[in-house]
């Protein structure tokens, strides 16, 4: 990694608590005001009732869809105090979205995480939800440690001490467990002797999460993105259990989304505010990519490690990466066929 690319990310730990406090105060004020201004509870009850009875979005008639979108727009606009649009733009034709990530370039700054949270209206705290986790790995320690090489002892036997090794590297956990962490808090990134491996929804061709969903609340859309109908999800968490990438998140409580930080440009399957007790996950910023824009994480990456495009278009950036770079998929042994590729130059 060259020095020019090395970026210093200042951490304003001192200010953070103060800012959080102000944020909380802001929420409290708005909530109080909303409580005072709340209209007749009857209208609200009617809305909730209608929402409770609404069917699976894919099964709705055009009229029902329109009604549902209007209801959501009104509710969100009132709740967050700003004009909110809920798009229902359809999937694009002849497009299969793919993503490629250069792990050689990634510096672990987590700007993608920040951009994702801001764009996609995730709950900021209790529960704190982030769709992208950046794993930090020590260089040269992946199931191997140079200073442990001569630790331990080989098993003895009558024909010489050539048995399997006991202790040392042989007692290091294998695979990913124990080798990575995603709660790192350094002063600056990238850290010496570390490399980074961001993980988010891999948008599998054979998604285990879709297979296990008992009510088909989650499914693969025509562009290959795995989406969730937040109003159909019953919150059984089978998908969270099935996902080998730990890419899904559950709204354990009512999401805490400060109105001033809320992104009012939303999509039904994408970043519209979620409710308590439903799943959510990365949708490649569905609300953006269906309009021909890049996902927020691609735009935010300061080192250009993230590439995105149409896998069916031979001229697209992501196809060029697949054709010319050394590419691998994460956890291929699970037979999920991710459309999220990792590569090195």
């Amino acid at each position: 990694m060259s020095e020019e690319r090395k970026e210093t990310i200042e951490r304003d730990d001192g200010n953070e608590t103060r800012r959080d406090f102000l944020k909380t105060m802001g929420v409290a004020t708005v909530a109080g005001a909303a409580a005072l201004m709340a209209g007749p509870a009857e209208a609200e009850a009617k809305e909730t009732f209608a929402e409770w009875f609404q069917t699976h979005y894919a099964l709705m008639t055009d009229e029902q869809k329109k009604e549902c979108i209007e209801r959501l727009e009104t509710r969100y606009s009132e709740e967050f105090g700003k004009k909110t649009t809920v798009s229902e733009s359809p999937a694009l034709k002849g497009v299969l979205f793919g993503y490629a990530l250069n792990i050689q370039k990634c510096i672990g700054c987590r700007r993608c995480v920040q951009a994702c949270v801001t764009e996609n209206n995730q709950s900021r705290h209790d529960p704190e939800i982030q769709w992208i986790r950046v794993l930090k790995m020590e260089k040269g320690s992946f199931a191997f440690s140079a200073d442990k090489l001569d630790k331990g002892y080989p098993e003895t036997s009558p024909i010489g001490d050539y048995g399997i090794q006991v202790g040392g590297n042989a007692y290091t956990p294998v695979g990913i467990s124990g080798e990575t962490q995603h709660y790192y808090q350094p002063e600056t990134v990238p850290e010496k002797d570390a490399f980074y491996f961001p993980v988010q929804c891999q948008q599998c061709e054979k998604p285990p999460c879709v297979k296990v969903c008992p009510v088909r609340a989650t499914y693969r859309d025509p562009n290959g993105i795995v989406v969730i109908d937040y109003n159909w999800c019953i919150g059984c968490r089978m998908c969270l259990l099935a996902c080998p990438y730990w890419a899904r998140r559950f709204n354990w409580g009512k999401p805490n989304l400060p109105p001033e930080e809320m992104n009012p440009k939303t999509h039904y399957y994408g970043n519209r505010p979620r409710m308590r007790g439903v799943m959510e996950k990365c949708t490649f910023c569905l609300q953006r990519v269906r309009e021909g824009r890049y996902p927020a994480c691609v735009e935010a990456c300061p080192v250009g490690a993230r590439k995105f495009g149409n896998l069916l278009d031979p001229g697209s950036e992501v196809r060029k990466v697949l054709d010319t770079k050394r590419v691998f998929r994460f956890k291929e042994e699970y037979n999920t066929f991710p459309k999220f590729f990792y590569f090195i130059d």
Partner: protein, 412 residues
């Protein structure tokens, strides 16, 4: 219709009458219902954030207990099988008690699933016609179907038999026998299905194993008859219903050999994982030995193993099997509790460690979670107690329609 109403009123008025100990037991359960009603309200309004589950360990005490209730519900057919398949005369009367156990525990299990779900008010999405079943892909759908069918089959069978007995008519074997055979086949089925809900997740290394249904069925064979023995011993002591020693002996044999099979299943699982010791063994190793100081489940693991082996050896000794008033109920209580506690501390919580990204997390249940769990258990046990009491009244002939005539082969 009039007979039906008097059946219900007579049944209920007999069931709620009892001695001081009986009322104490019901009041004890009622306490947990009252406290649990408050915690349930809180969970329904504030969400699952009040319980200890996280995105890392997403199955809580509810699901752990649900699996256990499926054990007991499946094992209840062990009372029905000797009576109806092997035609044992001394158990014919008791078969209905087995079905009541199945009925109560399926209900408890379904309640636990409702507590597990994030938005229980949307569970109408499961109703055929209104909602959508993701069949044949989702194992949970199959589980929902088999549990509900089992509930209905047992409900119908219990009601039909008790009602016929109450009005003094012989049962119509043409309807009743197929129903009983269906219940007998369905018992193991609900349990195999529940095991598939777990073992179908390839990323859960300690669940994605072919021995899981066998482990479940053998644990069912151990824990179910333990509860049945305790209940039967209590019935024998406090009611007029007679239960032969031979019946108790049969169940203690079943427990012993279920534990024997369980030991084989567990040892082959642990051997297969630990010999090659690949990534798949990570959660079992964590459970057995801990990881970098995280070892909350280690003592539980070894205690469970010691108690399973110990109970197996104890039950091989005829003297203990025959000690109906001292050692046998004690061993049964141990087996029941071991299998119950095994669920969270061995089967469920350590299975989530490490998570797919290699994170080690320990699970800490919250008070709300404990009280909700106790609420469900208390509701279930109140139902079980009342149903048992009423059924015994009918079986002994204390509850009977005024017009009823004595049927042949009635009460002993």
């Amino acid at each position: 219709m009039k007979k039906m109403i008097s059946f219900v009123t007579d049944f209920v008025s007999y069931a709620i009458k009892g001695g001081a100990k009986y009322y104490a037991w019901l009041l004890f359960l009622l306490f947990f219902v009252l406290v649990g009603a408050y915690t349930t309200f809180r969970q329904l309004t504030e969400g699952l954030i009040l319980i200890g589950a996280t995105d890392q360990g997403m199955w809580e005490l509810y699901m752990s207990n649900f699996i256990f209730t499926a054990h007991i519900a499946a094992a209840a057919v062990l009372v029905v099988i000797p009576a109806y398949i092997y035609k044992r005369k001394d158990m014919k009367e008791l078969a209905v008690l087995g079905e009541i156990i199945a009925l109560s525990f399926v209900t408890i299990g379904i309640l636990f699933i409702i507590y597990h779900v994030g938005r229980p008010e949307r569970m109408w999405h499961f109703i055929p016609g209104l909602g959508y079943f993701n069949i044949p892909n989702s194992m949970l759908d199959f589980d929902v179907i088999v549990l509900n069918v089992y509930l209905i089959v047992n409900l119908v069978a219990v009601f039909y038999l008790l009602y016929k007995k109450y009005i003094g008519q012989p049962i119509n074997k043409k309807y009743y026998t197929p129903l009983i055979y269906l219940a007998v086949a369905w018992g193991p089925l609900i349990h195999i299905c529940t095991a598939y809900v777990l073992s179908s997740n390839a990323r859960m290394h300690s669940w994605a194993t072919a021995v899981l249904p066998f482990a479940f069925l053998s644990m069912a064979g151990a824990s179910g008859p333990s509860l049945i023995i305790i209940i039967f011993l209590l019935i024998r002591k406090y009611t007029r219903l007679q239960i032969d020693d031979a019946v108790i002996d049969l169940f203690s044999q079943i427990i012993a050999w279920s534990l024997g099979i369980l030991l084989l299943v567990l040892s082959s699982e642990y051997f297969t994982e630990l010999y090659s010791s690949t990534e798949h063994a990570a959660s079992i190793k964590y459970n057995m030995f801990g990881h970098n100081g995280l070892n909350a489940y280690v003592p539980w693991f070894w205690l469970t193993m010691v108690l399973i082996v110990g109970s197996f050896i104890m039950l091989l000794i005829p003297k203990i099997r025959k000690s109906y008033n001292r050692f046998l109920p004690a061993v049964c209580a141990v087996v029941f509790l071991v299998v119950l506690f095994e669920k969270p501390v061995i089967l469920v919580f350590p299975a989530f460690v490490p998570n797919p990204l290699g994170e080690y997390t320990e699970y800490y249940p919250t008070l709300v979670e404990y009280f909700n769990m106790l609420f469900v258990w208390a509701v279930g046990f109140i139902g079980l107690t009342l149903l048992m009491k009423g059924a015994i009244g009918i079986l002994t002939g204390e509850v009977r329609h005024p017009d009823a005539v004595e049927v042949k082969g009635g009460v002993k």
